[in-house]
């Protein structure tokens, strides 16, 4: 598999797994309006995932469709950032996870609009509008929770400390990233860090939350080495499709 294909799969899988997590909330959110809000983000992310998976399948050239890639790959073949496979936890943890990814996706999608890969540029041009809205939503909620009641503040801080260690992976480059950056297809991961840090820092200040210390990260989801959570998530996601090989739905 080429680095180009791997790179597109990383983006696709990150959106797909996050969409899957958000889908778990439907019917269980704190208010009807948040059921709709989270479902809206899930749908946007699924749309991005489908476009990217289809493109990855074309780049791969083995005739795999978006569904083949989503439902028939093993855990080690998924290349999502480890952050998105973390469980929903409470609404605070979901919002923190969402905010950290939205801030990253905004830097990423803005950069990708200028990608030398016209297909990625096109996908990013659509996605960036969605991401702006997602960030508005998640940042808005993070501020309400961080600067709300004592309880909401405590829960948000706990969630932030739990999820912060997974953010390092977003900005660490490996060989695939080097190749992609060289070719002008994608950004050098560390190039996204200043913008992300500034935006996250500002919102955390407004939320009265304390930015956790940098921890040496130890996560490699984008290389197919995942936390224990992905296995369970995929078992649920893929079970029906796998139970009927070759069937169409």
């Amino acid at each position: 598999m080429t680095s180009h294909c791997r790179y597109v799969l990383r983006l696709a899988d990150t959106s797909l797994i996050l969409a899957q997590r958000l889908g778990e909330w439907v019917g269980h959110a704190p208010a009807i309006e948040e059921d709709l809000g989270l479902a809206n983000i899930s749908l946007d992310l699924l749309g991005q995932a489908r476009m990217l998976l289809t493109y990855a399948g074309e780049l791969e050239g083995r005739g795999r469709s978006e569904d083949d890639l989503a439902y028939l790959r093993e855990e080690s073949q998924f290349l999502n950032a480890t952050l998105v496979e973390q469980p929903n936890g409470d609404f605070g943890q979901t919002i923190v996870r969402q905010f950290l990814i939205d801030a990253w996706q905004l830097e990423l999608h803005e950069w990708l609009q200028e990608s030398k890969d016209p297909r990625l540029a096109e996908i990013a041009a659509k996605a960036v509008k969605e991401t702006r809205y997602h960030l508005r939503y998640s940042a808005g909620w993070l501020i309400r929770l961080g600067d709300g009641t004592e309880e909401s503040h405590a829960r948000a801080q706990v969630a932030l400390e739990r999820l912060w260690p997974f953010t390092g992976e977003l900005f660490a480059a490996d060989d695939v990233d080097h190749e992609i950056a060289q070719a002008g297809i994608g950004p050098a991961p560390e190039a996204l860090l200043p913008g992300w840090s500034a935006r996250v820092g500002a919102v955390l200040t407004d939320s009265r939350l304390v930015e956790p210390p940098v921890t040496p990260f130890g996560w490699h989801g984008k290389q197919g080495r995942h936390s224990e959570h992905l296995g369970h998530l995929l078992a649920e996601m893929q079970s029906l499709h796998r139970a009927h090989p070759g069937a169409t739905w």
């Binding site: 959110a29 948040e34 809206n40 749908l43 409470d90 309880e151 649920e236 069937a247």
Partner: protein
């Protein structure tokens, strides 16, 4: 001349009721008879207001609870497109619940009060959502039959006498037809698929057929609210009329799928141009309404959990808004 706020009643409502009530009721009924719409601040008989609050809120509760049997399959949807469609559908249902709670609130009750009644087991919602969705085919069947039955009920409601309810129904009906089509499309794929898929579809139809017929409610002779609701143009067709129409529309759809309707007494009456169908087990319906259906407890527990576990979130939003208001106040000072 002007009254403050949409939540306060108009002057007519504050008049001495003992003196004027006969005249007010007559004028009200003439407006109904002339197909005029009643709006929130208009005078209305207390019983009309109460009936509407009950009916619209039950409808709202049904939409919200209805998110659960279908939401059950979002994480396991067998293709990404089906996952998207199912999320969009369940999202619509939440939206319908929101529109309907809004419409109920125009009658002078708060959404929080209504939700409280639901969670305490004091309010009713459509019996159909107390059945489980053990297979993917149940998702197709719900869209095809349950949404189909709902559409049959809802289209006449677009002309109901109470303005906010009628308008909410127009919006709901626009969105509902996609719901039924996506369900039928699922059934088409299944019935033309593998033997296992076809069997899954048939089993689901066997499970959902009779509960869907029960959705229209008992025969109107048994229903205590029917006559008055018809006079007030809240209800426009009888339960039996709607049920018959549903059967007439749906049986050919089942035949097209190559699936058998689980009713040995089903037959076409050429003279009447209707399908004759077997007796409904109203005992099952009664039991489910009383809370003894397969999923009544689970559905309410899920909604209670969401509500209780979400309380700190709702409180945080209010606290934050107060803090913001205080800051702006002190800045302006």
């Amino acid at each position: 001349m002007y009254t403050q706020g949409l939540d306060s009643l108009g002057k007519d409502c504050l008049r001495d009721e003992a003196q004027d009530i006969g005249g007010l009721e007559q004028r009200f009924q003439s407006r109904i008879d002339a197909e005029e719409k009643i709006e929130p601040k208009d005078w209305m008989p207390e019983a009309y207001r109460r009936t509407l609050i009950r009916q619209i809120s039950q409808h709202a509760h049904s939409e919200i609870v209805g998110m659960l049997p279908e939401g059950n399959w979002i994480t396991r949807a067998p293709s990404l497109l089906r996952k998207c469609i199912l999320i969009a559908k369940v999202q619509d249902e939440g939206g319908h619940g929101a529109y309907l709670y809004s419409a109920t609130e125009t009658l002078g009750v708060s959404r929080d009060e209504l939700i409280g009644q639901l969670l305490e087991g004091k309010a009713k919602y459509s019996s159909i959502f107390n059945y489980p969705t053990p297979t993917w085919a149940d998702i197709g069947t719900i869209g095809w039959l349950v949404d189909g039955a709902a559409i049959m009920n809802q289209i006449p409601l677009c002309r109901c006498s109470y303005g906010p309810y009628a308008r909410a129904m127009v919006r709901v009906c626009k969105e509902e037809s996609f719901h039924q089509r996506q369900g039928y499309e699922i059934m088409l794929r299944l019935s033309r698929g593998t033997p296992a898929q076809k069997e899954m579809a048939q089993q689901a139809l066997n499970r959902w057929w009779w509960p869907s017929l029960m959705m229209f409610g008992p025969s109107d002779a048994e229903s205590k609210h029917s006559a008055q609701s018809m006079r007030w143009k809240i209800k426009r067709f009888s339960n039996d009329e709607l049920r018959q129409k549903f059967v007439d529309f749906t049986v050919p759809q089942a035949e097209f799928l190559g699936l058998a309707v689980p009713d040995p007494a089903l037959s076409w009456d050429e003279a009447a141009q209707h399908y004759r169908f077997g007796a409904i087990d109203w005992n099952e319906f009664e039991q489910v309404l009383k809370g003894h259906g397969p999923c009544n407890r689970e559905r309410l527990e899920a909604r209670r959990r969401a509500h209780d576990e979400g309380r700190w979130v709702r409180d945080a939003a209010i606290a934050h808004a107060s803090k913001q208001a205080a800051r702006q106040g002190s800045r302006a000072a």
